[in-house]
């Protein structure tokens, strides 16, 4: 029988992590994601699976704990919300530079600065374009339901270990806080230290006589070597771009216009598609599930079919830049979105479509 539960998005992430056999979580409270840490503390995963849970002294300490755990081959993650994710950027760029697998959850709230505690999608640039210093990218997954919050935990770790790269789940305060039905998966057994050694021969698991010492670092004072490493990273991102694009399409077959939206905005646009079609406007929705890699090929194909695209984001317009690049500016691409933690209504989205295109 299916194990179905009514859960908050944040709680679903925590339960999914325990079930995926994650080894450690390191976090710091911030609204609207504190339930991740609260749920883990309440569930006593140290008793359920032996998972380590620690409330760190800061987001900076937490992400550096993740760096160390990942560098030692363990499955580790952290979570925060926008201001806290800004603090974590130092650690994230070191993690990317040392090519370490881990998951980072951002339950986005409105900014800039302390901003608001209400949901927003204004951290797109930070998540997708790097975030910290240096040439690097994260794989970015955008869940649009509590079920996807659950499912993307396992997916994140699969991708992170496949490519030795940090993966970000870019959620928002709405999906983190809302409760939905979730299908819970099987409990996986955590890897033993011997299995970790085998899966991650590069990790600092203790130097034995059979190998050279392992070093986790992002430092190379020799620019020639650093350049070679930079090219290696870029080649990896190309590979990810080739293999890992994920998206969902709704009623695009006969569409004359397309909404491009992810996460909460995509949920709203589903309703907007219905409303617009009732009015006789042929609209479809493309929902990127991976924000990096971005579904640029599919968007380019769709640009041959449709008259225009409307990106709907709870921001001043960030993903729109990637949509314009994807369609090579061959058709009009417009943006609509509410700011400051306000979620647009399906009607507002349809109105925007009519105003901008009809």
């Amino acid at each position: 029988m299916k194990d179905l539960r009514l859960m908050k998005g944040n709680e679903a992430v925590s339960e999914a992590a325990i079930r995926a056999g994650v080894d450690g979580y390191f976090g710091y409270p911030i609204t609207p994601q504190s339930e991740v840490l609260e749920y883990l503390m309440l569930e006593r995963p140290e008793k359920r699976t032996g998972m380590v849970v620690l409330q760190a002294e800061s987001e900076i300490a937490a992400i550096n704990m993740v760096y160390a755990g990942a560098g030692a081959g363990k499955m580790v993650f952290t979570s925060s919300s926008s201001p806290g994710i800004s603090l974590k950027q130092e650690g994230i760029t070191y993690i990317a530079g040392a090519e370490l697998p881990c998951m980072i959850l951002n339950v986005v709230r409105g900014g800039p600065g302390l901003g608001t505690i209400q949901p927003a999608q204004s951290d797109y640039f930070q998540a997708v374009k790097g975030g910290g210093h240096g040439d690097y990218k994260l794989i970015v997954l955008a869940p649009a339901s509590v079920q996807e919050m659950y499912d993307f935990v396992q997916l994140s770790f699969d991708l992170a270990f496949k490519y030795r790269t940090p993966v970000m789940i870019l959620s928002d305060g709405a999906i983190g806080q809302m409760m939905e039905k979730v299908e819970i998966g099987e409990q996986k057994v955590r890897l033993t230290d011997a299995q970790v050694k085998e899966r991650c021969p590069w990790a600092t698991t203790g130097k034995d006589a059979n190998r050279e010492r392992n070093i986790i670092t992002s430092l190379d004072l020799d620019s020639n070597k650093q350049e070679i490493f930079n090219h290696k990273l870029q080649a990896k991102y190309k590979e990810i771009d080739k293999n890992e694009v994920r998206f969902e399409e709704i009623q695009t077959e006969d569409a004359e216009y397309i909404f491009v939206a992810y996460g909460t905005s995509a949920r709203i646009c589903q309703k907007s598609v219905e409303l617009a079609r009732e009015k006789g406007i042929k609209v479809g929705l493309l929902r990127p599930i991976t924000l990096f890699p971005f579904p640029h090929k599919r968007l380019l194909e769709l640009s041959k079919q449709v008259k225009g695209m409307l990106t709907v984001e709870m921001s001043a317009g960030q993903m729109i830049e990637d949509v314009k690049l994807a369609v090579e500016c061959s058709i009009p691409v417009e943006h609509f979105g509410r700011l400051g933690g306000i979620i647009h209504s399906p009607e507002e989205v349809v109105e925007a479509l009519e105003q901008k295109f009809l």
């Binding site: 620690l54 130092e90 430092l219």
Partner: protein
């Protein structure tokens, strides 16, 4: 010029009085001649060798002069962002409770940018060893003022001497962490004389052995010289350290576990 002749007859195993530990790699140290880091590195590696713990140890290198410590220590190591070494060590020990975990940090790393990580790792009583090499200056970046720079001491960012009124007084991190219930063993050592080296090694060994007792954090400060940063010869710098650093940072145990 007279030819230097080596008497190969005496180079025999039974005449061996000193041998570099195999846990130090053969790479030439990047430290300035006269600097205490080389000796401190050797002691840490000798202790790990004596504990037969090469396979059981994970070290954390900081940002600073010892950023490349992993080039010289033949054990698994991670390089931390500036100041974050105690956070790394926390996670390593929590995920591998049976391993020896240590950080090797300078005074800028540990007492300025990493103050929060240091205090909280100590306060949680993480079962790790923190080795704190204090030379009162930022060596690697070229001799800037550190949180530990003495009053009146000149550096490239206190060219007229550290003015306590505007720049603050030097911080005694070791005394500070000794106040926290999570620290088990806190001591201050030096490596400028053979006697000091022997004492420092004893303290380091105890600090590693304590990890097996699982009673909390061991914190070993090593007051050291920075002849380059202080603009002195190695000998002058050691004399200056004895005359000026030691009165402010007195050597000895600060917190000793009750037997």
């Amino acid at each position: 010029m007279a030819e230097n002749k080596i008497n190969n007859d005496i180079v025999k195993e039974e005449n061996l009085v000193y041998k570099k530990t195999d846990l130090l790699t053969d790479k030439a140290l990047s430290y300035c001649p006269g600097c205490g880091h080389g000796t401190a590195h050797r002691l840490v590696m000798e202790v790990i060798e004596e504990l037969n713990a090469q396979e059981e140890t994970i070290g954390v290198a900081p940002v600073g002069c010892s950023v490349l410590a992993y080039e010289f220590m033949d054990i698994d190591m991670q390089q931390a962002a500036h100041g974050r070494a105690p956070a790394l060590a926390t996670a390593l020990k929590r995920l591998y409770p049976e391993k020896y975990v240590f950080t090797y940090q300078g005074d800028g790393d540990l007492a300025a940018i990493g103050t929060a990580e240091t205090i909280h790792a100590c306060n949680r009583g993480e079962n790790i060893t923190i080795i704190f090499v204090n030379n009162g200056i930022y060596g690697m970046t070229g001799g800037q003022m550190a949180p530990t720079t003495l009053p009146g001491m000149k550096s490239s960012t206190s060219p007229y001497g550290r003015d306590v009124e505007s720049m603050g007084a030097p911080m005694k991190m070791t005394e500070l962490v000794a106040q926290l219930p999570g620290t088990y063993f806190v001591t201050r050592q030096a490596v400028h004389t053979p006697a000091a080296v022997r004492k420092a090694k004893k303290a380091l060994k105890k600090a590693f052995e304590n990890q097996k007792l699982k009673k909390g954090l061991s914190f070993v400060e090593i007051v050291s010289n920075c002849n380059s940063g202080w603009k002195m010869t190695p000998i002058q710098s050691n004399e200056w350290m004895v005359e000026n650093m030691f009165p402010f940072y007195p050597l000895g145990d600060i917190k000793v576990p009750e037997e």
